[in-house]
C-alpha cells in the first residue's frame, strides 16, 4: 500500500493534468469558446487578424515555457523571473494595448 504522502502527490498530479487536459480538449473541440482570440476590432466593428494579439500569445507561451523549464531544472524553490523577461513581457503588453488603441481610435480619425 502506498504511503499517504505518495498518494497525495499522485492525486494532485492526476487532478492537475486531468483539469489541464479537459480544458485543452474543450478549447480544441470548441466546447470552450476561443473564437476571435487572435482577432482585433476596428472602430467600425469589423474584426481583423491582430498582430498585437499574436505577438502577445507568443510572448505569453515563451514566458510560461521558460518559467516551467526553470522550475523543472531546480524545483527546490520558486525561481524568480529575471528582470529582462519582465521587461520583454511588459513591452509585449504595451504593443498589444497600443495596437488595440490604434485599432479602436486611430482608424476612425484617419477616415
Amino acid at each position: 500500500m502506498p504511503e499517504v504522502t505518495q498518494l497525495i502527490v499522485w492525486e494532485a498530479l492526476i487532478f492537475l493534468f486531468a483539469l489541464f487536459g479537459i480544458v485543452v480538449i474543450q478549447i480544441l473541440t470548441g466546447a470552450i469558446n476561443a473564437r476571435g482570440l487572435l482577432e482585433g476590432t476596428t472602430s467600425g466593428g469589423t474584426r481583423f487578424k491582430s498582430t498585437g494579439r499574436v505577438q502577445l500569445l507568443i510572448a505569453t507561451i515563451v514566458t510560461a515555457v521558460q518559467y516551467l523549464s526553470q522550475v523543472v531544472d531546480n524545483s527546490q524553490k520558486f525561481p524568480d523571473i529575471p528582470q529582462n523577461w519582465l521587461l520583454l513581457f511588459g513591452s509585449s503588453q504595451v504593443i498589444y494595448l497600443g495596437s488595440k488603441f490604434h485599432a479602436l481610435y486611430g482608424k476612425d480619425s484617419d477616415s
Binding site: S43, G45, T63
Partner: protein, 154 residues
Amino acid sequence: MSNYSSALVFLESLAGYLICIVVALFALLVLWRIFDRTIDLKFLLSEKDKDSERAVASMSRFQLLIFIFVIAFSFFLVVISNIKIVQRQTKVDYNNLPELPDVPRGVLELLGISASSYAVSKAIQHGAGKSGNGDGGAEARAGGAPGGRPPEGD
C-alpha cells in the same frame, strides 16, 4: 506505552487515507461535471459584449489561464521536491520542517503586469464604446449602445 503509540500512528495513517479518499472523490466529481458539461466552461475565455449574442475570446483571460496552470504546477513541483528532501533524511528534525514556498516578487510582478494590462484593455474598450468607437461604436451605429453616438445612417 508502545501499544498506545502504534495505535496513534495507525489512527493517523487511517485519517490520512480517509482525507485523501474524500478529496479524491471531490476532485473526481468536479472533473466529471466539467467533462459532461454540467459545469459549463464555454465562456471561460470569453468576454461578454454589450451585445449579448456575441462573446469573443479574450487574450487576457487566456493569458491568466496559462499563468495559473504554470504557477500551480510549479508550486506543486516545489512542494513535492521539499517533501522528498524530508523523506530522504534518516532522522527528521520536526522543529525544522520546510514551509510552504514563498512566491517570489518576479512572479507577482508578472501577474500584476498581466492583470493591469487586462484593466487597461477594458478601459480602452469602454472608452471606445462611450466615444462611439470600437464595439460600442459599432452598436451605436446600429442604434443600440446606450450613451453612444446616435446612428448616422448608411
